[in-house]
């Protein structure tokens, strides 16, 4: 019973490790006594010094002492982890590998100076360097791709259904900054009637307090991609309100493919009042595939389409409508067509 409780509180393993350390230290001490026998007693019994045997003897004895030292260090580290309750699972493994490589490299470098060894110096230099590199290029927080669709779809479905049941049947119009009191914010306007009924900036600004607009009748929502647009701006280091369509066209491919790594290919074409976007290998593809099966989701657009629409509205200063979204059968290619509305149309 006592032994079980000792195991539970991890004192016994620590005790065994400490005994191990003591025994190894004793072995090192006994070896130094043996060394004294060689250097003292054997000379008195006729041993003749020669570099032929002395060099091998020195190498083996140094290696033996080095290995004993490493065993003591490792046992000491494990005993410390157990004593302070650091469980191996709690240690972030890439970080541990980095520090271990750096530590071993440092030891190899010190030994290379001690033994004047080129091989040890190269090993040490390599270990320290790669330890530092891995520490530097460690990954940022990543989540699995399928988590995106599983967490994002239910709110999109619910919101779409609420909007449909409230009778807002118009297309979502992404408003440019001049419509909004907060210049950097993004809003989408959906009217009660089908078609594109664009309110004036004054009408929007007069009724900013609520979601619902009375004149013209409609709803003013924060788009699903509004926060994503802010992320785009933060990543590019520039607000879309101070750039033009050309900047978006030039920088979006790099942003999607290299910076945020959310797509494998991104193409944007602008022609008159139309902007066409083609995205391949998008991480949100499951949402688009699901939207194809659930018709009412179309009323509120997808996060990526919405984010691009917000960016276009900010950059062009014109209201934007998503005209069409096409998803290939396998879901790998998504084509979105945007229209830049002229305010004279109202």
């Amino acid at each position: 019973m006592k032994i079980r409780s000792l195991f539970r509180i991890e004192i016994l393993p620590v005790l065994l490790l400490l005994i191990g350390i003591l025994l190894v230290a004793l072995s090192a001490f006994l070896f130094t006594l043996l060394d004294q026998v060689v250097h003292g007693d054997l000379y008195r019994h006729g041993l003749q010094f020669s570099y032929e045997w002395a060099e091998r003897y020195w190498t083996y004895s140094k290696l033996l002492l080095g290995i004993l030292g490493a065993v003591i260090a490792m046992n000491g580290a494990v005993a410390t982890f157990l004593l302070f309750g650091v469980h191996p699972k709690k240690i972030y493994s890439p970080k541990l590998v980095c520090w271990l490589l750096t530590f071993l490299g440092g030891v190899a470098l010190v030994l290379s100076i001690n033994y004047n060894s080129l091989v040890l110096a190269f090993i040490g230099l390599g270990l320290v360097f790669w330890g530092a590199i891995i520490l530097y290029i460690r990954p940022e927080a990543y989540v699995k791709e399928n988590l995106l669709s599983t967490t994002a779809l239910p709110p999109i479905e619910n919101l779409s259904q609420i909007i449909k049941e409230l009778g807002y049947e118009g297309k979502g119009i992404y408003l440019p900054p001049k419509y909004l009191p907060e210049f950097e914010s993004s809003k989408v306007y959906i009217s009660t009637q089908k078609g594109l009924q664009l309110p004036t900036p004054e009408q929007i600004q007069q009724q900013q307090e609520g979601l619902f607009l009375k004149e013209p009748s409609g709803i003013l929502l924060t788009p699903l991609g509004a926060e994503l647009t802010r992320l785009f701006e933060r990543t590019l280091g520039r607000s879309f309100t101070i750039v033009n369509l050309q900047f978006i066209k030039l920088n979006m491919p790099k942003l999607f493919v290299e910076d945020l790594e959310i797509a494998q290919n991104f193409e944007m074409e602008a022609e008159n009042s139309k902007v066409r976007v083609k995205i391949e290998g998008l991480v949100y593809k499951d949402i688009y595939k699901e939207a194809k099966r659930t018709p009412y989701i179309h009323t509120l657009d997808q996060p990526i389409s919405s984010a691009i629409a917000c960016a276009l509205a900010k950059a062009t200063g014109k209201p934007i409508v998503i005209e069409e979204e096409r998803t290939s059968e396998d879901g790998k290619t998504i084509e979105i067509e945007y229209s830049l509305l002229e305010e004279t149309r109202q």
Binding site: S112, S117, F122, L125, I137, R138
Partner: protein, 70 residues
Amino acid sequence: MAFPLGFWDISLWLAGTTIILLITSEMLSPYYGKVNIYINKKKLRNAALAVSILFLATVAIRIVNILLAP
């Protein structure tokens, strides 16, 4: 008790390391479809460029040495 590697040994080591880092940073490009490798590619590329600059610096020192040698 001196560090066993000379200046030229380190230059050679830097050359090898530079090649490995530059090739790795290019092979991990998302253009090749490897978007699921969990490392920060930008930082890897920066490290590769930093090491290659160090190597080029050692080469420049060598050239200057040859030119200034009597």
